[in-house]
């Protein structure tokens, strides 16, 4: 990120005149002043001063050494730069969110400078926009789609099609060319029929029968080729669409949480299923159709011009008018189909929303409201659909009429030729049927904008996923995580989901192998975020995390995850048997291993009680399990995984005492010999922890054993007391 934006020469003069000997270190625009956007405001820092230049005449300077802290505050829709100093806080200026990250980065470094630490203003964060054209760069990349080579994009598109389809596609192309050529013979046979056979008084029945038989045979061959093409193409296009679906799905699975969590489930599903299907349809029906129609058209055109160039020109006369009309409607159509897709996605996402939350909807008796909500979305979509189709119904006949105009011109001129004896009926018939061979491809092309618009929109959405780069690059020479012991060093880690909003600040912790760390703190204090970093779902903004002395980035990620086990608060069981769910992370586990794991997890007894035992189906349309049962299955899942590092996120919340005891017991067995991070609101469950880390607003508030922290009478002590009070109240 460039923290030294370009400044006007007038501003350089201001610095030069008023602050002699100082140089500009950073310059970031402050584009809001008095409630209006401005392109004049600029915050400049030099070695000694922070200067807010409002315009050519006005500026305010603050001596950096007199300031205690610089703050870039995130407001709603804007940011504000504040200085904390003796004698009261000062608001320096305001700016739009465009510059939030830059101001925040400057403040961070300035604060380091005040404290006497070394400040580094050459920020290495990626820029959001292309420096050449100002377009947004897809997250995680520094390549602007507009500014890179177009051929590369095309290559990327073609690359999606597997080599193995090339022979089939070539075969289809050959069939289509053959069909085109064969279909040109038919009108010629008609001409012979009309001119040489259908003459009253002559009777060459042999030739007559032969011609008819030839026409039938020709048609049979064409139909046969059509069927063959259909079969081959269906195979190819379904293969391609299968590849694409898998590709998109794999990509979604591998994308960082940061991307996936910003998209709606319904929207992602739509992209995997409908959008890839749209591309399939395009490849299967439209693309090849287009190619074959173009081949036919070109060959017919050549024929026509050879036969009679004048009449050929008549045929082409209405084409420019049609092309103009096409161009005119294209723009409109792109927009209306985007609206249609948006409404359909909206309806889908509402449906998803309601069905996911059906229990709550029913529990509060709000079915009617939800029906109304969906009905409205569905009706909006239907109305837009009707409108769009109506528009099509209007446009298509008009365009067809413009096209058919050429036929009348041929009749007009061809008819004259016949009357004056310069031509004969056979030729005219041949000519008009060729003309149709031109118009039907053109007629097809009328639909082309619609098809292309639909497909392009779908492809765009698919590419949005495929182009999204994983923020984590696999290490070039990944370290094996096979035999890790589980020593974790968290070294001065800071992190925010948005770079200017720190959720964790300067966390440092050394965890010995096999140690159990309890994480506590108010909700929102950063406990789960810390877990997300240890799982390497996100990368720390500054600082590093080491496991057994190796940076977490340098591990083979798959292997590393396979050494980390999790038991989360929301236990998700996949559709399948209990056995499958326990063996999720180790599909080759033996039945005995599964039972052993279930026993350790205190799950064996209740599983045996089910009529289908370990074969009991769970998940959607399966056996309903209670929260405690699900959790014990999750624990068994973690046990069979045999991880070196274990993460327990509120694993025992909302359970009755008996069940909690069973789970506590299971967990105690599970954590033995494993480095464990446990989050729990119920502090009593953390008693077994070797040490407790108390987080407060993202900072490390306290670290120590239960007893140590109690005697310290700090944040932890207060949390424990508050909970004791709660328990007494509920008793």
């Amino acid at each position: 990120m460039n923290l030294k934006c370009e400044i006007k020469s007038e501003y350089s003069d201001i610095i030069f005149k008023n602050f002699p000997g100082e140089t500009v270190i950073t310059a970031v625009p402050a584009d809001i002043s008095d409630g209006r956007y401005t392109d004049k405001g600029m915050v400049v820092t030099t070695e000694k001063h922070l200067i807010y230049i409002k315009d050519e005449e006005n500026f305010t300077a603050y001596s950096i050494s007199e300031c205690k802290e610089f703050k870039s505050e995130v407001m709603v829709g804007q940011g504000s730069l504040e200085i904390i100093k003796d004698g009261g806080d000062i608001e320096v200026c305001r700016f739009s969110m465009d510059y939030m990250a830059k101001h925040s980065a400057v403040c961070k470094e300035l604060n380091k400078a005040i404290k006497g630490e070394s400040a580094d203003f050459s920020n290495s964060d990626p820029e959001r926009r292309c420096e050449k054209c100002g377009r947004i760069l897809p997250e995680g990349t520094r390549v602007c789609i507009k500014c890179i080579n177009k051929r590369d994009i095309f290559k990327k598109l073609v690359k999606l099609v597997d080599r193995k389809y090339v022979p089939s596609i070539a075969l289809c192309l050959f069939i289509m060319i053959l069909t085109s050529v064969l279909s040109l013979i038919s009108p010629y046979l008609y001409r012979i029929l009309v001119n040489n056979i259908f003459i009253p008084g002559t009777a060459d029945y042999g030739l007559f029968a032969g011609l008819i038989a030839g026409m039938v045979a020709l048609q049979v061959v064409i139909v046969g080729l059509g069927i063959l093409r259909g079969i081959v193409m269906t195979k190819v296009s379904n293969g391609i669409s299968h590849d694409l679906r898998t590709l998109v799905f794999n990509k979604i699975e591998s994308l960082p949480m940061a991307f996936v969590s910003t998209k709606k489930t319904g929207d992602l599903m739509h992209r995997v299923t409908s959008d890839t299907d749209r591309i399939r349809q395009f490849v299967q029906n439209d693309l090849l159709n287009l190619i074959s129609q173009i081949i036919t058209m070109i060959s017919v055109l050549i024929l026509l011009f050879v036969m009679d160039y004048k009449m050929a020109l008549y045929i082409l006369l209405p084409v420019p008018a049609m092309m103009c009309a096409l161009w005119f409607f294209r723009k409109k159509i792109r927009g209306i189909y985007r609206i249609q897709w948006r409404l359909s996605a909206k309806a889908d996402s509402i449906l998803q929303d309601i069905i996911s939350g059906i229990r709550i909807v029913k529990a509060f008796g709000k079915e009617k409201n939800e029906i109304v909500r969906y009905k409205k979305a569905s009706r909006d979509f239907a109305e837009r659909n009707i409108y769009n189709e109506k528009l099509w119904a209007l446009i298509t006949p008009i365009l067809h009429f413009i096209l058919s105009f050429g036929t009348y011109l041929i009749y007009l001129s061809g008819g004259q030729h016949i009357i004056s004896g310069r031509s004969n009926i056979g030729e005219l018939i041949q000519f008009t049927s060729y003309a149709n061979n031109i118009y039907s491809p053109l007629g097809f092309m009328i639909h082309l904008p619609k098809l292309i618009a639909n497909t392009a929109a779908a492809a765009g959405r698919v590419f949005e996923i495929l182009d999204e780069e994983s923020t984590f690059k696999e290490a070039e020479d990944p370290q094996s995580a096979e035999n890790i012991k589980g020593e974790i060093i968290i070294d001065n880690v800071s992190f925010g989901y948005k770079s200017y909003l720190d959720v964790l600040k300067n966390i440092s912790l050394h965890v010995k192998p096999g140690e159990m760390i309890g994480l506590c703190g108010h909700s929102g204090s950063g406990k789960s975020t810390l877990i997300n970093l240890i799982l390497h779902f996100y990368e720390p903004e500054s600082g590093e995390i080491y496991i057994d002395g190796v940076n977490i980035k340098d591990f083979d990620q798959d292997q590393l995850r396979s050494r980390i086990g999790v038991v989360l608060q929301e236990t998700y069981l996949f559709t399948g048997s209990i056995r499958d769910n326990i063996a999720f992370s180790k599909p080759d586990a033996t039945d005995e291993e599964v039972i052993a794991a279930a026993k350790i997890a205190n799950a064996h007894d209740f599983i045996i009680n089910f009529p289908d035992g370990y074969n009991t189906r769970v998940g959607e349309r399966g056996q309903n399990l209670s929260g405690g049962e699900k959790q014990r299955i999750a624990i068994a899942r973690a046990i069979i995984h045999d991880p070196k590092i274990l993460i327990l996120d509120e694993a025992t919340s909302s359970l009755d005492t008996d069940t909690e005891f069973l789970i506590q017991e299971a967990l105690a067995r599970l954590v033995k010999g494993r480095t464990t991070f446990a989050i729990a609101h119920r502090l009593s469950t953390l008693k077994n922890a070797d040490r407790l880390l108390v987080l407060d607003h993202g900072k490390m508030a306290e670290l120590g054993t239960h007893e140590e922290l109690l005697s310290k009478k700090g944040v932890y002590y207060n949390l424990v007391m508050a909970q004791k009070k709660m328990t007494r109240l509920s008793e």
Binding site: I32, G35, R36, Y37, T38, M75, V76, G77, Q78, S80, I83, G87, G88, D89, I90, E91, R94, S96, M97, D98, M100, R128, R135, I136, P138, I145, K146, T262, K263, K264, D267, G335, I336, R338, I339, R342, A345, K346, G460, R461, F463, E464, D467
Partner: protein, 168 residues
């Protein structure tokens, strides 16, 4: 035990108990019940539906000091101060006109006129960036987190409505 109505138990501040002044640095300093807060910040409970009601007054550590039911209960001078500070926190220019909409490579680039001046914004295509507060009222959040409002989009000029309809 007497019946307690747990709803409606909010203690609103008696606005006559408040004194305020603007600090040199541009913030608000507040005194209530003889306790002085060097700097307070104001938060709207319903920024979209009731911008002038239910204003939470918080100290620098974000602890609530009191709740103002309605800005109009304050004297004109204080109301002015509170509004000034709210403007510091909330910035949602109103869209007056959409000039151009360009759809490129998954992002929509839009140039528009707002009541705070001309502005170009970028929004990702495909996902809905317009929050529909009612059938006609919209809030737009762009890719950087800037916010814009439209009170009634159908009341904009015809071209703006047409351009907007492809996006909402």
């Amino acid at each position: 035990m007497s019946e307690i109505n747990i709803l409606g138990k909010i203690d609103f501040v008696d606005c006559r108990d408040l004194t305020m002044r603007k600090t040199e640095g541009g913030f608000i300093s507040l005194t209530i019940n003889e306790k002085e807060y060097e700097r307070v910040n104001f938060y709207r409970a319903f920024p979209l539906s009731k911008p002038d009601e239910y204003i939470s007054v918080r100290d620098n550590d974000k602890n609530e000091i009191c709740l103002i039911r309605n800005i109009n209960e304050l004297s004109q001078e204080y109301a002015q101060l509170v509004k000034m500070d709210l403007d510091r926190r909330y910035f949602t220019p109103e869209i007056i006109k959409i000039n151009t909409v360009k759809d490129e490579y998954g992002y929509v680039y839009m140039n528009m006129l707002t009541d705070s001046g001309e502005r170009s914004v970028t929004i990702p295509n495909g996902s809905s960036n317009f929050i529909r507060l009612s059938d006609v009222r919209l809030i737009l959040i762009d890719i950087d987190g800037n916010r814009f409002g439209i009170e009634d989009y159908l009341k904009l000029d015809e071209k703006s409505v047409r351009l907007l309809e492809t996006l909402i």
